[in-house]
Structures are given as structure tokens and as C-alpha cells.
Symmetry: C3
Subunit: 261 residues, 3 copies
Amino acid sequence: MNPDIIQQARNNTPLVHHLTNQVVVNFSANGLLAFGGSPVMAKEMTEVADMAKASDAVVLNIGTVLESEVPAMIAAGKVANQKGIPVVLDPVGVAATPFRQEVIERILKDVRPTVIKGNTGEIASLVDTDIQMRGVDSVGAGNVDDIAEQAGKKWNTAIVITGKTDVIYTDQQLIYNQTGHPLLANITGSGCLLGSVIAACLTTSYPVSEQLHAALCFYGLAAERAAEQPDVKGSGTFLPNFIDALSCAPKQLNGGPNDDI
Amino acid sequence: MNPDIIQQARNNTPLVHHLTNQVVVNFSANGLLAFGGSPVMAKEMTEVADMAKASDAVVLNIGTVLESEVPAMIAAGKVANQKGIPVVLDPVGVAATPFRQEVIERILKDVRPTVIKGNTGEIASLVDTDIQMRGVDSVGAGNVDDIAEQAGKKWNTAIVITGKTDVIYTDQQLIYNQTGHPLLANITGSGCLLGSVIAACLTTSYPVSEQLHAALCFYGLAAERAAEQPDVKGSGTFLPNFIDALSCAPKQLNGGPNDDI
Amino acid sequence: MNPDIIQQARNNTPLVHHLTNQVVVNFSANGLLAFGGSPVMAKEMTEVADMAKASDAVVLNIGTVLESEVPAMIAAGKVANQKGIPVVLDPVGVAATPFRQEVIERILKDVRPTVIKGNTGEIASLVDTDIQMRGVDSVGAGNVDDIAEQAGKKWNTAIVITGKTDVIYTDQQLIYNQTGHPLLANITGSGCLLGSVIAACLTTSYPVSEQLHAALCFYGLAAERAAEQPDVKGSGTFLPNFIDALSCAPKQLNGGPNDDI
């Protein structure tokens, strides 16, 4: 991990415009604040273009998307593309229903994301590979490297596939991250908040591959640190400690067994 | 309490499709994850039937319901009935406004819930018994047993009335539960999350009366355990500890003074 | 601070009807419950008038407002005015987009708030003073006293401007509050929940100036107490401890260095 990326992201206090699901709005806002960014959650069609113009990055997340919210997502994404600021697309549960597949297709027709981030099943669905899904979670396995590469080439974007080992595909290159903790899977929105932290890191001046790795590595190390706190006895007490850890300096988190770069 | 119900519910990792209020979506998701279920919160009309078809149980909760959300609730409930999976109906604040009464009537016209869960005032309202309400909370008393029985017979469903003593009516039988803790009343959505845990327990192969009792008894014991943690000094620190406790094995919680069965 | 105001607010257990943003609904509800009030969050147009009629105070907060939600805000506010119960208006991010400015103008055309509460940039925007904004946060400075006085006179209402020093303008009088803690700025919705606590205090029988000062002073002291708890290591662990502190008796919080009145 390049700690300068985390530091520069914090120096930017990037304003990240989220059009995200209602389950995670509060957690995403508190997590991004702890990391050092500035969240805004406007989703009224009339104002999203104005808000995106004032922002440093845009996050589009379809976790509880309504049909009526799709035009605002597309409008914000288009403004971000025009302005040249990063767009993180999180196709939550895209394989679960035809509606979600159609929404993602409509977004990808008009918006070019900087990165698409999802679990194996979600990214597989974007390249028509069939992975067993359960609600918004993927439970099947697959050749994750191949899926990442195919999706990245098809949609001309960086790809992040989260899992026990996270896979990053960008610039025809595969990068891996092993940091993290199983408790992350027991709190809702841990993937969604990762999207916010990625967005913040993408506002820095480093190559995308390094930015994505720094975001994933830092996020996982923060989870590891949180899980080690003496007052953590389960996912409930893990959550506030994880928010705390997101504000740590990288060197406070470094040196763990899974910090492989 | 039959601990095998809790264990079997966890073995199922049931996918519970929630159409619930925006105040509690995050808490319900984190609580159900801790308990061992898998939450999904889709509410777009276009996809709710697909999502309900893929689910193991459906929760309908009108806490902040909009008129535009009612058709999706009915559609998800109908699919659940056709598929034969459990439906938990939580008529939050139904006595507070004519709109909520009409919404519940419309739902009950088309959907047959497995259980209706509410406080005394809410269930009383379903049998046209007048109980003093304050917002979405009932503050009056009444003959709770009678109300449960009348509601169960009128709507041909099991009834849970939560309170200091919880009353379960099913199969012409009244069952009581005394577990719980006053701090539960100080966190928003404690009744809503109970609906999610009930839904998970209803996916097991036991009689409904035992499933409901197990869910209520376990939930209350988890609250008792959380309240005993040394770092709990109020409702704020109770909440994460309660989420932790929801992932405990029943035997870790058993033996408290209120575990009467 | 007059501790009797806090006590009387709690004796009232005021039902506070919120039409607020989806980021903070859960936090506002849990915080108000801890303080001693009773939250309700209905926002369906069909029922908001009924709910406001049954309530003791109304909070209008435009943090994530949709065009479709504006009529319900106005309807609830009008009922509150007719009934003579307090209305707290929180113009979150009003300077950030023309849409928000228009929404606030429409609300203020039909509803007379008891108090408008915001940060410097938000209140400055209500008197056409230009303050540098970043998303929904104001980052510029200005003559805060002047802004408060101008806004109060223009809109014929009390004004609260939150900041390191909070400024209250009412009855041609300026009052200051210095309690608080920097961690409040790191949790989303700390300003929104303050609006709920103000609403609760406005249901008491004291002068508005004293009610507002008591709410602000108590809120800040609760934050100071929370930050002193040994298990607080960041904004994540601060949050549950802050909720705890909101249920403290004023004398448990008093005597801190910033309790200047």
C-alpha cells in the first residue's frame, strides 16, 4: 500500500456525491467522514447535476434503487464524466432480478465508470457469466481473475471484485489484496462504504491501480485493527470500532500479516 | 424455548425480503445478519415479485409507508403466499392515522400473513378496539389476551402482541413470553427487527406456536444479556451489544430468570 | 442553562413529527428517544396532516429532500402553525443548489417556523449573503452575529447558527453557547438531531431564548461527556456514548469548562 494516497485523499477532503441505497446512507456517511472525506447524498433529479458539478467524485449504488431514481443516477454520472471526476459504480444484487440488470445496462450506456466494484456474482453478471446468487450476495465460485479481466475489457473500466482475496483489474493488469476480516461480511453496507473510500482515493494524483490497491488494503487493515480491539465481541461492537479505525493513519494499521505490498 | 429452532433458522441462512420503513432498514439488516439470516430490502414494484420468489420469507412493515409503496408490498406478499413462504406483517402505527388503517386493510385483503406482530394498540386497532395511541406507540392498556384472540380469529393468522409480557395467539392457544429488557423500548426499530427474527424462525420445520415463542424468547434473552455487558451505560451502548448478543448460541443466553419455558 | 427546561421536556415526552432526510432518520430517532422524546417519521402526504395534529412539535429538514416530499413538509408545517405547536426548520445545504433555495422559499412562504437552525452558510443564504459552501457544509466565515440578526428579522423567527460558538438570535437579543466537542462534526446528522432536541425543548413553558439555549448547552455538554468516556477512540465509538449521554440528567453534565451560563 502507498500511504501517500491515503494522506492525499484526506488532504483533499473530497466531496463525494452518493446516489446510494437507503440501507447504507448513514453508515456510508459516517464511514467516509471518519476516513476524511465529505459525503453528500442528494438524489432529487432537479439538483443532482448541480451537486455533482460541485463534487470531487460520484458513487452510484443500486442496492435499493427505484425506477424513479435511475434518471438522477445517470444525470449525476454524466456530469461527472463531463467534468472528469471519478465515478464508482456498485451494481449491488445486479444478478438477482432482471430489473437490476436493465438498470445497470441503462447506466453503463450513458455513464463511463472509473471503476465497477462488486462481488463475484455481480461482476460475473456483467459479462453474462452465471454465478449462483442469493439475494444480493454471490455464493458460487468462478474463475475470478477471468471474470475481472472480461468485465474490464468489455466495459473499458477498472474492476474490483471483493472477496476473501480482492481482485483488481486495470490497465491489463491483475492486482490482489488480502487484507480484511470476516466480520466485515456481517455488517450491512461494508461493500458500499468501500465504494465511498475508493471514490475518495480516486481523487488523488496516483495511477488508478495504486489508488484502488491503497483503498482496498487500507480498508481491510482498518477492519483487522477494529477486530483486535478488546471491546469487540461481535458484529455490533465491531461496527463503531471499524469507523474509528477508518480515521487511523496508515502506519497505525501497517505491518499486519496481510499487508502484502 | 426450543433452541433447535434457532439453530435450524441459522442453518437455513434464510433470505428475508423486507419492505420496511426507512428508519430501521440499517438496524434490521445488521440485526438479521447477526442472528444468522440474510436481509434484502428491494422495494421497486418492477422487481419485488422476482425478489420475493427468490426469498425464504417476506416482512411487510408500514412504519414510514408511502402510498406509492403499497402496491409493491401487496405484490411481494402475494408471491410469498403463492410460494408458501412465511409473511410477517408489522402494522406500525396503524391506529395513528386513517391512511395507515386503509393501507393495512388493502394489504390484508390480498395477502394472508403468517403472523401479525404489533403492540397492543396496533393489534387492537385491527379488531376495532380503541386503545390510546401516541404517534406509533400505544400507551393505553386493554385486555391483551382478548385482543390477541379476536385479531387471530378475525384475520385467520397467528398474532404476536409485544409488551412487558409478550402474548402469542395461534391455533386457539395463548402463549406468553417474559424475556426482554426495558432498554429495548429506547432503541428505534426493536419491534421491527423482532419481525425479521420471527421471519427467520418461521422458515424452520416446527409448529408456528413454537417458532414464535423461540423467536420472542431468544430475542428477549439477547436483550437481557446485552444489558448486562459492563460497557453498557444507556441505549446508545446497548445497541451494538444487542446486535452482538443476537449471534449468541441459545445456551449462552439460557438460564436467565425470565426464560420461563 | 436552565435544567428545568430539560426536565419539563422529558416530562412531556413530546411526540416530534419529523419530515427529515433519510441519512439521519435512525440516528435522530434513537437520539430523541434517549433524550426523552418520542419520534415519528411519517412523510406520506395523505397522512402528514393527521400525524402533525397528533404531535407536539414538527421538524422540517431538507437534507435529502425530493420534490415529491415538499408538499408534505408544507402541509405538516401549516398544521403545526394552526395548532400552535413549534416548528423547527433545518435548511440543510440550502446554499448548495438552486433547488434547495427554491424549496426553502416555498416552505417559508406557507410555514412560519419557530426557529430556523443551520450552519453559517445555510443561514447566510437565507439573507442572500454569500458564504463559501462545500456540499452541505459551510467553510467560509462571516459576521455571524449580523447574519443571525438579519435572518431573524427577515423571516420573523428565532435563529440558531451552529458552530464552534453557537449563536442564538431571538427577541432582538443575541445569546451564545460554547459547549460542544469537535467529534460532533465527524458524525453525520449531529446538526439534524440537535433540531429534534430543540423541538422537544420548545414544547416547554419557558421563553424561546431560554429553551434554545438549554437545548444547545445540554447537547454540547452531552457531547463533551461522551468524548470523555474511556472507551471512546474516535467518531465511531463516540456515537453510542453520545446517545447515552443524551439521557443524562443536566446535573450529571454540568460544571464543565464550557457551561458558561
